[in-house]
């Protein structure tokens, strides 16, 4: 909380307080029993309620990938099954997790930051503390757990719906028959791909929820502070999703 943070030290200070906040939150896991109801509520909000928008985005990304791949493959030398071989791993490896990540950074990240930010500026967090509750644990742990549990669920839904969307558009649009699409996908299928996607979605879920909690919990000022925290939560989550995406691809692939 010192004012004279140098440009070099500021990120280190931010990382430090972020880590401490999470440490504080998860060192209260012993009280998990009292968070349980909250965890379920957050899971519904993060996961179940996000399903429609994630499904919509995934269906369209699958469809668009199919159409564009078909458009790029003009050579008669290359069989159409290649479209399936490109669309399916694309969804599983990258689009399923990243599209879901971006949507949830906007939808879930912003909501968490706004919620906690408002609680902060209206002293609801102080009220929790004054009652003798561990506000960090009570507010942050359920949200982060909901993120890391429900995000992989959304990723699976997104991959499934995206592939189905690609398959449907490819077949109905006359780009590639469904059978060839699936044959191509099978030929190049790597069992590690969906595992990698799951790992990614797990990490993304953690990134989005924890960063948004951090931003929201430490909101300063009134309505403006809440607005700032909300924007920052969404933007920073997106940036760190991209960074984590690259880091995971570089280390695990």
């Amino acid at each position: 909380m010192t004012r004279n943070r140098s440009i070099i030290l500021a990120p280190a200070v931010a990382l430090g307080s972020y880590s401490l906040l999470l440490f504080h939150a998860f060192s209260s896991l012993g009280e998990f029993g009292s968070y349980r109801k909250n965890v379920v509520r957050q899971m519904v909000r993060v996961g179940v309620d996000s399903l429609p928008i994630v499904a919509l985005a995934a269906a369209f990304s699958g469809a668009v990938t199919t159409v564009q791949t078909a458009y790029q493959l003009v050579s008669p030398f290359i069989p159409k099954s290649i479209i399936g071989a490109i669309v399916v791993p694309s969804m599983i490896l990258e689009l399923g997790a990243v599209v879901t990540g971006f949507i949830l950074a906007g939808r879930v990240g912003a909501r968490i930051a706004a919620e906690l930010g408002t609680m902060r500026v209206t002293e609801q967090i102080d009220a929790l503390e004054a009652m003798g509750l561990n506000s960090i644990g009570y507010l942050i742990v359920p949200r982060v757990i909901a993120g890391v549990v429900m995000f992989p669920v959304l990723y699976i839904a997104a991959s499934f719906i995206g592939i189905a969307g690609g398959l449907f558009v490819g077949h109905a649009g006359g780009f590639v028959p469904a059978g060839e699409f699936i044959d191509g996908a099978r030929e190049f299928f790597q069992p590690f791909d969906p595992v990698f996607g799951l790992i990614k979605s797990f990490v993304f879920g953690f990134i989005i929820t924890s960063i948004s909690c951090f931003k929201g919990y430490n909101t300063l000022g009134g309505a403006e502070g809440v607005g700032l925290a909300t924007t920052q939560a969404a933007v920073i989550s997106c940036v760190y999703i991209l960074i984590a995406d690259l880091a995971l691809a570089a280390t695990l692939l």
């Binding site: 909380m1 209206t122 002293e123 609801q124 102080d126 004054a130 009652m131 003798g132």
Partner: protein, 253 residues
């Protein structure tokens, strides 16, 4: 018994409280008065350990709450009920759940017991029947009364009021003042009222502490305050009376 000794606190290098000592004896109602920004709320937050002192100490029943581990601090806090400035009701819950929240969290009462207890508390603040209403649907005065019901739900030994009448019309302010006085008698609690509203002070407190420029400028009973010749204190008291236009203001020499 709450005792504040030589409290010093600064934010970003700017001192807010420089040397504050105060003793709040059991069973009394102590008003902490002073101009906006004089550090009243900062002092209040030290008393429940939401802030930790830079120097000096705050003891509750002999326990130095600025130095004890977080877990023990939370135990101490459960003896406090706090009415925050805006009420700080949890806006995700209805009024009933707000009052029930500390009971659900810290007691092992059954649902039936909780229901009876919450209804008692709401009756105490003359709000029987508002249980199903959400905080957003309540007026400012009602919100504070629900918050007061929540603050007393665990039958605390100490109740802290942060600007209980600010932002309310004079009539509602009166209602709140009456409530505070009643509660003090019925529950025989020690109360701390942080306010700049002299009308409140005169109707509910038996002692006052005047903070001026970060220091404890004057402490005494209400009678002593009337008799005080301290220019700064007199100026503050007079300004307040004039502003409110209090019809039955005590005659000051």
């Amino acid at each position: 018994m709450i005792r504040v000794e030589n409290l010093y606190k600064s934010f970003d290098g700017r001192p807010v409280l420089t040397d504050v000592s105060l003793e709040i004896p059991e069973g009394h109602t102590m008003a902490i008065i002073g101009r906006s920004g004089s550090g009243k709320s900062v002092l209040m937050k030290h008393v429940i350990g939401l802030l930790r002192p830079d120097r000096g100490r705050v003891t509750v029943d002999g326990v130095d709450i600025g130095r004890i581990p977080y877990g023990e601090l939370r135990q101490v806090r459960r003896q406090f009920g706090v009415l925050f400035q805006g009420g700080a009701l949890f806006d995700s819950m209805d009024s009933f759940e707000n009052v029930a929240f500390p009971l659900r969290t810290f007691t092992s009462m059954t649902d039936v017991e909780i229901r009876r207890e919450v209804e008692d508390c709401l009756a105490m603040v003359d709000l029987s029947g508002v249980g199903p209403k959400m905080p957003a649907d309540l007026s400012g005065g009602m919100r504070k009364r629900v918050a007061l019901a929540r603050a007393v739900a665990l039958r605390p030994r100490y109740i802290i009021y942060d600007e209980p009448t600010s932002g309310l019309d004079p009539e509602t302010s009166n209602t709140i003042d009456v409530l505070i006085r009643d509660l003090a008698e019925r529950l025989s609690v020690t109360s701390i009222v942080v306010t700049h509203d002299m009308h409140s002070v005169l109707s509910i407190a038996d002692r006052a502490a005047f903070i001026f420029e970060g220091r404890m400028h004057w402490v005494g009973t209400i009678d002593e305050m009337h008799a005080s010749t301290d220019e700064t204190l007199r100026a503050f008291v007079k300004a307040n009376e004039y502003q409110i236009g209090m019809p039955h203001a005590p005659d000051l020499p």
